[in-house]
């Protein structure tokens, strides 16, 4: 069974249905069409059908910054250790690991790089503004 990481911890999900709707987005989905459902969603899942399909990263950035979504944002599909840090920086806070990923080792994926130049969900100011502050 795939493992869920939330708040950088391995968690076992309560299988009872969540309160509210689970919105699942595919890479080509138009966010404007789901915008009004976001405030009522129990969580939003963004699917990564392939390792190299990077559309989900922009979707997450937009959900967090443009649409102001604050609830659980879960990456599903091809979610592997080597992508976790990128996903987190774009705004994901929950990660359903792909089958076969070693969950304990996957956690190491978050901390391989200790700084970032860009503004992100993790670091709202780019490095140059934090330096100048």
């Amino acid at each position: 069974m795939p493992t869920l990481i939330k708040g950088r911890r391995i968690v076992h999900e309560n299988l009872s249905l969540p309160k509210g709707e689970v919105l699942r987005l595919e890479p080509a989905d138009d966010l404007a069409l789901v915008a009004e459902r976001l405030p009522h969603a129990a969580r939003v899942e963004v699917n990564f059908p392939k390792f190299g399909d990077g559309r989900g990263y922009s979707i997450a950035r937009l959900l967090r910054s443009r649409y102001g979504y604050r609830g659980e944002l879960r990456a599903v599909g091809e979610v592997t250790r080597d992508l976790l840090a990128y996903m987190e920086a774009c705004g994901f806070d929950a990660f359903l690991l792909r089958d076969g990923e070693d969950p304990a080792r996957a956690l190491a994926g978050f901390d391989e790089l200790s700084e970032a130049y860009q503004a992100s969900a993790v670091r709202p100011l780019p490095l140059f503004r934090r330096r100048a502050a």
Partner: protein, 581 residues
């Protein structure tokens, strides 16, 4: 040189550790071939025809003597003692062992180098004018802006898995020496003429910066569908550079095609939407990002500027002194070298010098470890320990005292690096081709060598004048054949190597060449070039009219006729059917 600060160094060191672990996991079977492929490709590591190929980043082509010595040591220790400078101003090693790559990266990190994002579907090494910082026609020092873009694009989490690779070029001078028209994004520094009142902003402390901005071109590129980029914004104030790039990349990341690798570059998206609609989407996206936290600040420009070392130029002697010392080299070959390989410098008493890596008999861009060390030595003694790699696969010593030119020439000549052919026919751009590359349809290096041998006579070469001849071994166009005044493309026909010839391409202003007709066998190519040149020499108005100017003036047919006219009488058999472009 840009000097890393603690954070720059830490990130590169951490990347080494990360890649070491990824390689270990692959060798231990924890990562599949496919998973590791995507990871190694983010770090310049290809599995090639005979061995892995490691592409080492030389950000915007700027290299120190110390770094070049390290590259020499690495080439000797982990490879076969040589490297290949590519058209993206990088260095490629063609024979490293996979298991050695983490160690190579660790050694690179000790001299502030890496292989980050030199391959893969991400923002690649930013390229620029090899005369940045020294050109007399400079508007801004493009190195500073390239470094800002390097930082912004390095491990950018949102844009690490784009539909396809992404190449940005920056030109900071009036003349475009960075070929901005054939890049995914081309940036040209401009000064605001005041025509856009909405951008009459104050930029604080630095009056030099105040009216600086960029003209933004998008959707150019070579490859199998060559296109010239479109200007989507005439003037973008410098503060907004990163947010505007973010808007372009986001539109591309979300809407670029992912169903077909050959239609995945941004140029296809721009073409399918049309430049106006594409621009509208970018501007709509940018409206949300404009003035946000990624808006640049003068302090950051000043900080990055201050991390570049600057040569401490000496006050030049009188003009008399300069001309006296230059007279000491009265050799006609020295005079030829002065004409072709020495370039104007903004500081009196100094010049920039091209070291040609295009000698007859050596693959274009190839250098041995010993040569790297000798070149590092020249850079230390003549040019403040710094050099630049050009996208034409040569090296430039950017800060040479004019009075040292004769001495430098003698030393460079002894090393075989003073071929006076910059801008001339034998300064051939070529990809590694079928001798090394798994993608190639045909060899390119032997073709380059055959042409160089045919045109060895310097008087003839100088008489022909400026001519860019570019060769690619397949339609991925790494040898930039579309923008050569003469472009040669290797094609495969039923397992045999043939070569298609284009004429009329140019780097700047960007123009794409047109195919003259059916392809040729390899041994025919030098004859074909000779006939094209004959036609040109007969038709030109004067020596000032270059080959490409004549092609643009009279069109392809006279050249085509000359090349194919005697097809039935010549020794070669040219009755081939056309190869589709």
């Amino acid at each position: 040189m840009y000097r890393y600060d603690d954070i720059d160094q830490r990130l590169v060191d951490e990347r080494v550790a990360q890649f070491r672990d990824q390689t270990r996991r692959f060798m231990a079977g924890e990562l599949s071939e496919e998973q590791f492929r995507a990871l190694r490709l983010r770090n310049g590591l290809y599995i090639q025809r005979y061995a892995p190929m490691l592409r080492i980043a030389i950000p915007y082509g700027l290299l120190s003597a110390r770094q070049l010595r390290k590259l020499a040591a690495i080439a000797r220790k982990y490879d076969r003692g040589y490297g290949h400078f590519s058209t993206r101003q990088n260095l490629q090693l063609n024979w490293p062992k996979l298991e050695d790559v983490p160690e190579i990266l660790a050694e690179l990190a000790t001299v502030q180098m890496h292989a980050i994002q030199t391959s893969g579907n991400c923002v690649r090494n930013v390229t620029t004018d090899q005369l940045a910082g020294v050109a007399a026609d400079e508007i801004v020092d493009s190195f500073v802006w390239c470094e800002l873009i390097r930082q912004w694009s390095t491990f950018n989490p949102e844009f690490s898995f784009l539909p396809r690779k992404f190449k940005i070029a920056v030109n900071g001078a009036r003349q475009d020496r960075a070929a901005v028209g054939v890049h995914d994004i081309g940036l040209r520094a401009v000064r605001n003429s005041g025509s856009e009142p909405e951008f009459q902003e104050r930029s604080g402390s630095d009056p030099e910066l105040e009216d600086v901005g960029f003209r933004i071109l998008v959707g150019g590129g070579l490859g199998r569908t060559p296109m010239v980029g479109h200007v989507i914004r005439e003037f973008l104030p410098w503060r907004h550079l990163l947010t505007y790039l973010e808007a372009i990349l986001r539109v591309y990341n979300r809407h670029g095609r992912r169903d077909n690798i050959h239609k995945a570059r941004i140029k296809i998206l721009v073409k399918e939407l049309g430049p106006e609609r594409f621009r509208d989407q970018v501007e709509a996206e940018w409206a949300h990002l404009k003035d946000g936290p990624s808006t640049l600040i003068p302090e950051e420009i000043a900080r990055v500027e201050s991390r570049f070392t600057r040569p401490s130029y000496e006050k030049s002697g009188s003009d008399q002194d300069i001309s006296q010392s230059e007279k000491s080299g009265s050799d006609p070959i020295y005079a030829a070298w002065r004409r072709r390989n020495v370039h104007a410098h903004k500081v009196p008493g100094y010049a920039a010098v091209s070291l040609s890596l295009k000698r007859t008999g050596v693959a274009p861009g190839d250098v041995s470890a010993g040569e790297m060390e000798a070149i590092a030595d020249l850079a230390e003694r003549y040019s403040f320990g710094e050099l630049r790699v050009t996208h034409e696969q040569n090296l430039v010593l950017a800060d040479v005292r004019r009075r040292d030119l004769p001495a430098l020439w003698r030393e460079a000549r002894a090393l075989g690096l003073a071929t006076p052919n910059i801008g001339l026919l034998t300064n051939i751009i070529s990809c590694p081709g079928g001798d090394y590359c798994a993608l190639a349809n045909a060899k390119s290096i032997p073709v380059a060598q055959a042409i160089q041998s045919r045109f060895e006579d310097l008087d003839h070469l100088f008489d022909i004048g400026e001519l860019d001849l570019n060769i690619s071994g397949c339609m991925n166009a790494c040898g930039h054949h579309h923008v050569g005044h003469i472009g040669i493309l290797g094609v495969d026909k039923n397992g045999e190597e043939f070569y298609q010839v284009e004429i009329g391409g140019a780097q700047s202003p960007a123009a794409l060449g047109k195919v003259i007709g059916p392809a040729f066998a390899r041994h025919e190519v030098p004859d074909v070039i000779e006939r094209l040149i004959e036609c040109y020499l007969e038709r030109r108005d004067s020596e000032a009219e270059r080959f490409v100017d004549v092609v643009h003036r009279i069109g392809i047919p006279p050249f085509k006729e000359r090349v194919y006219a005697n097809a039935h009488q010549g020794p070669s058999h040219r009755s081939r059917e056309p190869v589709p472009a």
